[in-house]
Structure formats: structure tokens, C-alpha cells
């Protein structure tokens, strides 16, 4: 019986899964009842009033209006209730907890590349400890992909040119399917992998077995110097460029008088499309890195800039 149920229903392995399943079951019950009711009533009328049956067929004199109002108003109220319930859960899907681990994911035809904060990389695999919230910061190198883990009831398109985000807290250990669910070309159906959710002890053992590279932030720091970013964005630079210590999460004033929160997307755009948003008080002199820098390197630089903010809140920023 249990295996039969498992063949009809996906395993539930994240904090989101039970919430989605509750709405799903409520919808199943409601829609099942309505479909059943419509079929039973229609069948009853069909049998009772079939041609040749000896029954009363005097045309009913009742007004249509009360019926129409009833079957308009009741669905309206139920639908509003369903909307708010599902919207509330959906809203939660876009609000990761503050202690979530940031993991970068890059989609490309036809594989998933994963960058852990400690610098480890995986392809088509993601190892995470159970119970620890994870925030995926995702970008695509080519076309639109979609990071879909059925057991987590979560999915998000991975769109070229922008970061998208998906978060979950795994609640069950095991290996779960990872599918690309946005059609991305020839081997779309082979762009699959697995999420390994491990007990913290097993996870620590797994970590110990891997070669320990530099952290992602350290990698980003190296790129920050090699790419020449530090030539301008530093205290002893002769070029008037903003200092980037503690930039992440700040509200940055722009030359057009508006403000923008310096999130991953802003930093990305500043590197690839430097003239899109110009920080107030600076000349638009930064060259673009569009086409010269890989998604992984971008992620590393962003991780580096984020680490600066965490380490030493900078006083220079507050002047502006």
C-alpha cells in the first residue's frame, strides 16, 4: 500500500513541501467534490428525464436569478480564500531566512554547475546538510533553464542576464531528483542531476573527503585583482571610482537621483552593463566586462564583495 502511494505521490523533503501539499490536498478535496457533484446531478437528470420515462416535465416556474447568484457568489468566496492561502505560501518561497547558506548555481546547455561558499564545485550534484536553509543564487550562461526539485516542491527559472533565487530547508536525508524543467534545447531531458541531503555528520565526512580549495570569496579576491578591478576601486587609486567595501546590501544613490539596493543583480549589472545605473558623484568611465568574464567568475567576485561587507563595515561609504 505504501509503495503504491509512493508511486502516485512524490516524497516530501523540504520545509515547503508540506505547505504546498496541504493546499494541493484541499484543492483535490474541493475539486473532487465539485466534479463529483456535477457528474452525479447531470447523470441523475439524464437517467430520470431520459426520453420515454414517465415523469413530471411541467416547466419549472422558478426564477433563474437566485440560482445564478448562488453559483456565482459561492465560487467567488472560495476562490478568494484559495488565492490568499496559496499566495501566502508563495510569498514565503521568496523570503529566505537570514541564516541561509548562499550557494551559486550556473545553468548551461546541458549541465548544472554549483559553487559552494567554501570554493567547492560540483556538476549536476548538490550536497547539503539536512535542516540547514539553503539559498541558491542562480544564473544562466546561455538560454533559460529551470532548477526543479520535485521532492522540495520548488522550482525557479534560471534566466540569462539576471540572478534568480530559490531557497529551501531540506528536512529529509536521501538523494532527490534535480530536473531542468524549462525547455533548453537538444539534451534538455538529460540536464538532470541529484540533490544529496545528508546528516550533518555525514556531510562533514563528505566535506573532509573533498580537496579543500580556496573559499569562493578568496577566489573572487584573486579575480578582483587579476581583472584589474582593484586598479580603480581602491583607496590609493588615482581614478575616482567608488570603494566597494561593505557595498553589499547598501542603498546606493544614483546619478539620476534614485536609490538602488546593492544586491547581486546590481553588482552584476555594474560589471557587465556599467552605464545602466551610475552611482551619484562618479563619471561613467568604467568599461564593460560583457562577454569577457564567466558566470562563475562573476559569482566569485560577488561572493568576495559580500565577504568585505561582513568583515569590516567601512566608514568611507557613510560619507556619501
Amino acid at each position: 500500500m505504501r509503495t503504491f502511494f509512493n508511486s502516485l505521490f512524490p516524497s516530501s523533503a523540504s520545509n515547503l513541501a508540506p505547505k504546498v501539499d496541504h493546499i494541493y490536498f484541499a484543492l483535490l478535496a474541493l475539486c473532487g467534490a465539485v466534479a463529483f457533484l456535477v457528474c452525479v446531478v447531470a447523470l441523475y437528470f439524464c437517467i430520470r428525464y431520459r426520453r420515454g420515462a414517465k415523469v413530471d416535465r411541467t416547466p419549472p416556474k422558478t426564477s433563474e436569478i437566485p440560482f445564478e447568484v448562488t453559483w456565482t457568489a459561492i465560487p467567488f468566496v472560495i476562490f478568494l480564500g484559495l488565492f490568499f492561502w496559496a499566495a501566502e505560501v508563495f510569498f514565503g518561497m521568496s523570503r529566505p531566512p537570514a541564516n541561509a547558506t548562499d550557494i551559486y548555481v550556473v545553468g548551461k546547455q546541458w549541465m548544472w554547475k554549483v559553487q559552494h561558499p567554501d570554493g567547492r564545485r560540483e556538476i549536476n550534484e548538490l550536497h547539503v546538510p539536512v535542516g540547514q536553509p539553503v539559498r541558491l543564487i542562480m544564473s544562466s550562461q546561455d538560454v533559460i533553464h529551470d532548477f526543479f526539485v520535485p521532492a522540495f516542491r520548488n522550482k525557479q527559472d534560471v534566466v540569462p542576464g539576471r540572478y534568480t533565487m530559490e531557497w529551501f530547508t531540506p528536512t529529509k536525508t536521501g538523494r532527490f531528483h534535480l530536473f531542468c524543467s524549462q525547455y533548453c534545447g537538444t539534451d534538455h531531458s538529460l540536464m538532470v542531476g541529484g540533490i544529496d541531503v545528508m546528516e550533518p555528520a555525514d556531510y562533514a565526512r563528505w566535506l573532509a573527503q573533498q580537496p579543500a580549495p580556496n573559499s569562493l570569496a578568496a577566489e573572487g579576491e584573486r579575480a578582483f585583482h587579476m581583472r584589474g578591478c582593484s586598479g580603480c576601486h581602491s583607496l590609493n587609486s588615482t581614478i575616482h571610482a567608488p570603494l566597494l567595501d561593505g557595498i553589499y546590501g547598501k542603498r546606493v544613490p544614483l546619478s539620476d537621483g534614485t536609490f538602488v539596493t546593492a544586491d547581486e543583480q546590481y553588482i552584476r549589472d555594474s560589471i557587465l552593463l556599467p552605464n545602466k545605473q551610475i552611482a551619484a558623484g562618479f563619471a561613467p568611465v568604467m568599461p564593460t566586462y560583457q562577454g569577457q568574464i564567466s558566470e562563475e567568475e562573476l559569482n566569485a567576485i560577488i561572493a568576495y564583495l559580500k565577504s568585505l561587507g561582513a568583515a569590516e563595515p567601512n566608514s568611507v561609504r557613510s560619507e556619501r
Partner: protein, 554 residues
């Protein structure tokens, strides 16, 4: 419906002189290809879309064969991707969208209004030529190597990375779209200007209401499709950066424009079916339709709200979550008029005298399948649930319940209902009932397992899939083979009945409606004298029908 001109009696059958009808008025191929008679144009469309239906069906057959096993061992990935693109493009633009409007709509709209033809008969013929020219482009791109973008043409895949004749395929859809716009325009003007004396808006058959709403959507939405396909082609051919972020474009802009057309297009594909069912139920229940005005205005409400819900295709696309919420609540609202229709059809059965002829079986099948299709739409409108089932087989099952369970059932129901009018002959009733049941059974076996597959997490457009999904996929493929038999049977017996069927007479169903007051097949100009309408549609009397039937069977 009371008219001044009583039905024209058919000449006695013993006569060797057969009456002059739209079919035998002239026989040359030229007289068919240059006809401006709406009835002949309807038949031109019928032949063309049947051809396209079987092209799309062949692609689906190969896909279902491939999906029998999880390994993907029948065709290559490239071929599979081309197959589902062919299936989607052909079925959406070259079968479903034209199906009821251009075949039954063209044939019936002028007759239901009491007119001799549509407002612009030459434009009507031009629509068919545009449709065929578009179809030629589509077939060209299929024969010369195919397209692997899926029917949705998402950028930047379609504009930058895809293989094949994407531009030729898009050009085909672009050209056929102008045929749709012209048909829509023609129907709108016809409904406004060509109604017989006394045919007020409240006396219009509900089929006309639904065609009218459909026509407005065709005219307003199709140009947006033309624009978005043009922009995509410009990016693909000349590298103009519109959708590809590497060229400074925005891939989501494509999705917004595409679904701004393609969501209303869903209603282009279902409203005419609802119109057909609204004709069938009163006729075979011998009852006035319950809540005429509510059913009519529900069509209009669906048409209007249908323009405001496109973003529900984009809940996980990285569209703003607040936009997602607005699209979600509006998507729930658009379900209400559909529910109103289902309840009114069901209520019409109450105290009727129900006759289970083949068209009625299709109509009842439509109600059941459309109800399931509509209710599963609520799952997709619910934001958090949609995140899980978006782009899975759940969505595939949902829209096939609407498009195939709904629209194709309605089209076949309507085709059987008006077949005596179109051909002058009856189809074989026993065989027709058998095929209606076959289609119903085959359809459910094909698509119900896909709901379960979808919630389990099987993504759409997968050639290779996880082994635990196999049992449900085998069920689905088995159902598809039954469905195929169900679709081939009507093709065979309707063709047979064209020559050998029982002669139908002007009104074999004893139905109301102006189209039944003239001969079958109708004369070239539909009516000998212009009818004058004095009552609303669906003037049926269950008690009288019952007495009549008892009298006949006494």
C-alpha cells in the same frame, strides 16, 4: 423559432431531378477554389484542418511511442524536440484555432442570423488562402528539417540557439494569423449588420454569442502575436537585440508579449466549443437553455478577463511576485464564468426529455471533461501549487482536458449535429455512438495519468525520463492508441455517409434555429425568402416532445 417562411419541403425522392444545393450548383474544381459561398469555404477549411489534425496527430503518435520506455530509444533528442514542436504548432494554429470558427462558424453564422452570406464573402475566401499559405510555410519548415523550439518559441533559445527553420515556421504562423484576423473581422461585421429582421441580440443563438466574442479576441490579440514573432525573427536574422540579454534584450519581454496573445488564444480555442455545447444541450434535452443571458454574458466576461491573466504562465519566470499575485487572483476570477456555464448546462437537463443521440453524448462528455480541465486550472492559478506543477505533465494534462476533452469533443459533437445540414445525409448512429465512447475512454486513459505524473514531478518535453514514471507513461500511450482509433472511425464513416448515408431531410433533430428551416444541404443563398424572427432561440417543449415520441412509438 417562428419564421414567416415555413421549411421548404424537399422534392420527392423518386424524382431524378435532384434539388439545386450549394454542393451541386457547380461541380468544377475552379468553382470550389474561387467560391465566395460561406458554406463551400467552410468545407475547404474542413478538409484543410482535417489534414493538419492528422499531421499533428502523427507527431503525437511518435511521441507517445517514444515515451513507452524511459531510456529514449526510438528517436533522437533532435527528432523528439521537433516532434513536439510540430505537434504544438500544427494543433494550435492549424487545427484548434481555426476548427470550430472556420468550419462550423463559417457554415452556420450566416444561416443562424438569417443571412445569405457573411458580410465580406471575398475576404472570407482570402482568409482561407492566407491560412493555406501559412500552412504551406509550416509544412515547408517541417519537411526541410523541422524546428525544435516548442510551440512557445521562448527566447533567447528560438532567436539565438535553436536549429532549423524557425523563421519559416514563424512566417507561417504570421501569415495564418492574418487569415484569423480577417475571419474575426468578417464575423463581427456579419453579426452586427446581417441579422434578419427581428433577430435581436437577445434572440441570438448562444453559438453566435460565443463566435462573436471569439472574433473580438482574434482581432485584438492576433496582431500582438504577429509583432512578437516579427521581433523574434529580427533578432534571429539580424541580431537586433530585443530579447537576448547578451545583445541587451530582455527574455521576459518575449514571454509577456507571447502570452498576451496566447492566453486569450486559449479562449479562442474553447469559447466556440462552449457555444456548440450551448446549442446541443437544449436541442437534445428539449428544453429552453437555463439562464440564457448568463451563458451569453459569461462568454463576454471570459473574453474580457482572458486578456488580463497572461502572467499566470510566468509565476516562476522571475516576474515580480506582486505581479504574480495580481495574475493569480484574476485567474481565479476567470474561472467563475466557466463555472456559471457548466451549472447552467446541467440545470438545463432538469425536466427535459433527454435524447441520447451522438451529438448529445459528445456534449455530455464535454461537460465532464471540461469540468475536470477547468477545476485543475484552479491548481495552476494557486501560486504555491503552480510553482511545483509548472512545466510538468500536470499542465499538459490540464490543457489537453480543455483543448482535446473540451474543444475537440465539441467540434465532433457539432460536426455530427450539423452533418445532416452540411451533407444532406445522416451518419451511421450506432458506429458514431461507439466511436464517441471510444474517444471518451481513450482520452481519459491518455491524459488522466499525466496529472499524477505531473505532481510526481515529471517535466514536460522530456524524451528520457526517470524509470519510476514508466507505468503511468505506458498507460498514457495505451490510451493514445485507443484515442487514435476513436478519431479514425468518424473520418471513415462520415466520408462513407456523404454518399451512402440515409437522406436527412431539412430538420432531422426537430431542432429550432434558422439553419434548420431551410433544405439540407441548403441552397446556394441559404433561404428562399429572408426569414423574419419573432421569438428567442431554444423554443423547445419537453412535454410536447415526449407526446410526439410516444405517438411515434405507440
Amino acid at each position: 423559432m417562428i419564421t414567416q417562411a415555413p421549411p421548404q419541403p424537399e422534392p420527392p425522392l423518386t424524382s431524378h431531378q435532384s434539388p439545386l444545393t450549394y454542393l451541386n450548383v457547380r461541380h468544377t474544381i475552379r468553382s470550389w477554389l474561387l467560391t465566395t459561398d460561406h458554406k463551400r469555404i467552410a468545407l475547404l477549411y474542413m478538409v484543410s484542418i482535417t489534414l493538419f489534425f492528422f499531421i499533428g496527430g502523427a507527431a503525437a503518435t511518435l511521441m507517445r511511442l517514444e515515451l513507452l520506455t524511459p531510456q529514449g530509444d526510438l528517436v533522437t533528442s533532435e527528432t523528439y524536440n521537433k516532434l513536439f514542436t510540430i505537434h504544438g504548432v500544427v494543433m494550435v494554429w492549424f487545427f484548434l484555432i481555426p476548427s470550430i470558427p472556420t468550419v462550423l462558424g463559417n457554415f452556420l453564422l450566416p444561416m443562424m442570423l438569417g443571412a445569405r452570406d457573411v458580410a465580406f464573402p471575398k475576404l472570407n475566401l482570402a482568409s482561407w488562402y492566407l491560412f493555406m499559405a501559412g500552412g504551406a510555410f509550416a509544412v515547408f519548415s517541417i519537411i526541410t528539417g523541422g524546428v525544435d523550439t516548442g510551440w512557445t518559441f521562448y527566447t533567447p533559445y528560438s532567436s539565438t540557439y535553436a536549429n532549423g527553420h524557425v523563421i519559416a515556421m514563424a512566417a507561417g504562423i504570421f501569415i495564418a494569423g492574418f487569415g484569423s484576423i480577417a475571419t474575426g473581422l468578417n464575423f463581427i461585421v456579419t453579426t452586427h449588420k446581417m441579422r434578419a429582421p427581428g433577430m435581436t441580440w437577445s434572440r441570438l443563438p448562444l453559438f453566435v454569442w460565443s463566435l462573436y466574442t471569439t472574433s473580438i479576441i482574434l482581432v485584438l490579440a492576433t496582431p500582438v502575436l504577429a509583432m512578437v514573432l516579427t521581433l523574434m525573427a529580427l533578432e534571429r536574422a539580424f541580431g537586433v537585440g530585443i530579447f537576448n540579454p547578451a545583445l541587451g534584450g530582455d527574455p521576459l519581454l518575449f514571454q509577456h508579449l507571447f502570452w498576451f496573445y496566447s492566453h486569450p488564444a486559449v479562449y479562442i480555442m474553447i469559447l466556440p466549443g462552449m457555444g456548440v455545447v450551448s446549442e446541443l444541450i437544449p436541442c437534445f434535452a428539449r428544453k429552453k437553455i437555463f439562464g440564457y443571458h448568463f451563458v451569453a454574458y459569461a462568454s463576454v466576461a471570459i473574453g474580457v478577463l482572458g486578456f488580463l491573466v497572461w502572467g499566470h504562465h510566468m509565476f516562476v519566470s522571475s516576474q515580480s511576485i506582486y505581479a504574480g499575485m495580481i495574475f493569480s487572483v484574476l485567474s481565479f476570477m476567470v474561472a467563475i464564468p466557466s463555472a456559471i456555464k457548466v451549472f447552467n448546462w446541467t440545470a438545463t437537463l432538469y425536466k427535459g426529455s433527454i435524447w441520447f443521440a451522438t451529438p448529445m453524448l459528445y456534449a455530455l462528455g464535454f461537460i465532464g471533461l471540461f469540468t475536470i480541465g477547468g477545476l485543475t486550472g484552479l491548481f495552476l492559478a494557486s501560486l504555491a501549487v503552480d510553482v511545483h506543477v509548472h512545466d510538468t505533465y500536470f499542465v499538459i494534462a490540464h490543457f489537453h482536458y480543455i483543448m482535446v476533452g473540451g474543444m475537440v469533443m465539441a467540434y465532433l459533437g457539432g460536426l455530427h449535429f450539423w452533418w445532416p445540414k452540411i451533407s444532406g445525409r445522416m451518419y451511421p448512429e450506432g458506429l458514431a455512438k461507439f466511436s464517441a465512447f471510444t474517444i471518451f475512454a481513450g482520452f481519459n486513459l491518455t491524459f488522466f495519468p499525466q496529472f499524477i505524473l505531473g505532481y510526481l514531478g515529471m517535466p514536460r518535453r522530456y524524451r528520457v525520463y526517470a524509470p519510476e514514471f514508466q507505468v503511468l507513461n505506458v498507460m498514457s500511450s495505451a490510451g493514445a492508441s485507443i484515442l487514435a482509433v476513436g478519431y479514425l472511425l468518424p473520418l471513415a464513416y462520415l466520408l462513407w455517409s456523404w454518399k451512402y448515408g440515409k437522406v436527412a431531410g431539412p430538420n432531422p433533430w426537430r431542432a429550432t434555429g434558422l439553419e434548420w428551416t431551410t433544405a439540407s444541404p441548403p441552397p446556394k443563398d441559404n433561404f428562399q425568402t429572408t426569414p423574419i424572427v419573432t421569438e428567442g432561440p431554444y423554443d423547445y417543449d419537453a412535454q410536447a416532445a415526449e407526446e410526439e415520441w410516444e405517438h411515434a412509438h405507440a
